[in-house]
């Protein structure tokens, strides 16, 4: 009774905490309220009696210590990997709990199957997302020692699991484990017939889920097959589609927890899981809309490719290169400056250099500098916002698409740094383009546009960008951080 009331308190704290997330001013406190809710739930469980508390405290301490180390060590630029990895841990925990309960038949059986299915897709999908973000899966180049250790260690563990299942007589689970181990060793993102294989494995996983739900046996077979599905679904997804996948996996990790709640008939798991599930679904929807693509299109890996659209050579005939000095001169005359950051800014770790230049221009030239944040810029929802917050840029300066585009024509200088597809005007003009209809930052409508980019290489969509060749566009071919440092030096010299 007391315990259940405390669970109710915990669930209320979760909701309250999430509500406080709706404003940057209260968000930090909201997060603490959520953490308090978790502490209440854990405390209530430990004190409810009948449990071997000593052992549990040991497990809690080990997990917490690992969590603290990970959270304090991670760099802000590596946040997408971190979130991917944490998602996976939650998913795997749900798989183990549902499996350990070993419920069979009826409601509990169905919930167990659901928990195993979703949890396993979450875990293996998250591992693949992590591996792709950390650039050690599906790549051809030579790996760093830690990357190789993680990649081959994980594959080895999957293979060892397969052997254990084979010994135990669970042949299907063994095949699944081997498939996972093998898939992870692939050095490319696609293979012939991948879509068909995905569909087949999806069907198999559904059959395994129904079997497990009915009979109670075959749980680990289900986990293995769902794991293959999780690997396949995330395997071919990269680059600009990553925010969708990270959001989707976030949603799954919540739904897996909720399913586990059904297994043990515990409402705080159901509520907490449902909240996270809802959050992930909303973010997934926002990301898909921001790319004008359906969820199926992203998940089934049908990205546009480079086939359609104009040839790069023709588009880029009139490209004009510029220098840091010339950009400084433009900035001196500007009254309104918009900076459009993309993933390239994160890669070059240029956020501090960008902030420095923005502050300098505001102070020396009295111009207004704001940032245009495209929802899918970067590798996860809100990625650019976090990087700029790290560089002490006030959040009031970060503007959404509508606001920025409506004032673009009165913008004197628009500086694009490390973004490509999200400023490509073909999205507006070419209905056959793979990015047709995607909302973009209208950088081409500014009075002058400066693009900081190392080369004319294409973005993730693989198409040329006519913005680079426009009459009022200047290209600054440099690493992002170097470029901003040089422009700042030129500004100071004026």
């Amino acid at each position: 009774m007391t315990r259940d009331l405390l669970y109710l308190l915990a669930a209320s704290l979760f909701i309250l905490g999430l509500r406080m997330m709706s404003h940057p001013r209260t968000a930090a406190r909201g997060n603490l309220v959520g953490a308090l809710g978790m502490a209440v739930a854990i405390g209530a469980t430990l004190l409810s009696g009948g449990l071997d508390v000593g052992l549990l405290v040991l497990a809690l301490v080990i997990g917490s210590a690992l969590g603290v180390v990970a959270a304090l060590k991670v760099k802000m630029t590596a946040m997408p990997e971190m979130v991917g990895l944490l998602n996976g841990f939650g998913g795997l925990a749900s798989v183990l709990v549902a499996g350990g309960e070993g419920a069979s038949g009826g409601v509990a059986g169905a919930a167990t199957a659901a928990g195993g299915f979703i949890g396993s897709v979450t875990f293996f999908g998250s591992f693949v997302a992590f591996g792709k973000l950390a650039e050690f899966l599906a790549v051809k180049w030579k790996l760093k020692p830690w990357q190789a250790a993680v990649k081959f260690g994980f594959s080895g563990a999957a293979a060892a699991g397969a052997v254990a299942f084979a010994v135990g007589g669970e042949l299907l689970a063994a095949v699944g484990g081997l498939a996972i181990a093998g898939l992870l060793l692939l050095r490319r993102e696609t293979f012939p017939g991948m879509t068909a294989v995905k569909a087949l494995v999806l069907a198999l996983a559904l059959v395994a889920a129904v079997t497990a739900a009915r009979g109670g046996s075959g749980y680990w077979t289900l986990v293995a097959v769902a794991g293959v599905l999780g690997v396949l679904l995330t395997w071919s997804i990269g680059g600009a589609d990553m925010p969708v996948v990270i959001a989707l996996l976030n949603s799954y990790s919540g739904l897996a927890a909720a399913a586990t709640g059904f297994v043990i008939g515990n409402t705080v798991l159901i509520i907490g899981g449902a909240l996270v599930g809802a959050s992930g679904i909303i973010l997934t929807g926002i990301m898909c809309r921001a790319m004008n693509r359906s969820l199926w299109n992203v998940v089934l890996g049908a990205s546009g490719g480079a086939a359609a659209g104009p040839k790069a050579d023709e588009v880029y005939r009139t490209v004009k290169a510029t220098s840091a000095d010339e950009v400084a001169m433009l900035l001196e005359a500007a009254r309104r400056v918009v900076i459009v950051p993309g993933y390239g800014m994160a890669v070059a770790q240029a956020q501090h250099a960008v902030r420095d230049l923005a502050n300098l221009v505001e102070r020396e030239f009295g111009a207004e500098v704001v940032y245009a944040i495209h929802p899918v810029a970067g590798r996860m929802p809100g990625h650019m916002n976090v990087l700029l917050a790290e560089a002490d840029v006030p959040y009031g300066k970060l503007k959404e698409l509508d606001e920025i585009n409506s004032a673009m024509e009165s913008t004197d200088v628009c500086i694009v740094v490390g973004a490509n597809d999200v400023v490509n005007p073909l999205a507006r003009t070419d209905p056959s383009s793979p990015i047709a209809g995607m909302p973009i930052v209208d950088a081409d409508r500014a009075r002058t546009c400066v693009v900081v980019k190392r080369s004319l290489g294409p973005g993730f969509a693989g198409i040329p960008n006519p913005l680079f060749a426009k009459e009022r566009t200047l290209m600054l071919f440099k690493d992002a951080r170097e470029a901003f440092v040089e422009i700042a030096a030129a500004v100071k010299a004026r």
Binding site: A59, V97, G102
Partner: protein, 93 residues
């Protein structure tokens, strides 16, 4: 059956609450929202605690439970802490 209906009711209503609350989170906070809500999905730790701590369960189940507690706690503590680190950086002016 009533039991299931009760749980389903809780689930569906919680989804609605989730949609209502989270729609109001601005894009600026989407990354902290993900890592923070991610930490909440570690609530599965409760199930893990019950499994690992239950003296009557077979040892295999308890081992799985123990492992699940560790993993879920990494998710919980890592998630809340990293979110806190991020949110401290957001400032007005």
């Amino acid at each position: 059956m009533t039991d299931l209906v009760g749980l389903l009711t809780v689930f569906v209503l919680a989804m609605f609450v989730g949609f209502e609350v989270i729609t109001k989170v601005p894009p600026t906070l989407h990354t902290p929202l993900m890592s923070g809500s991610n930490a909440i999905s570690g609530i599965t730790v409760i199930g893990a605690l019950m499994l690992a701590g239950h003296v009557g369960e077979p040892w295999l189940a308890r081992t799985l439970g123990f492992l699940a507690v560790v993993l879920a706690m990494v998710n919980v503590v890592g998630g809340f802490l990293v979110t806190h680190r991020m949110l401290r950086m957001f400032r007005r002016k």
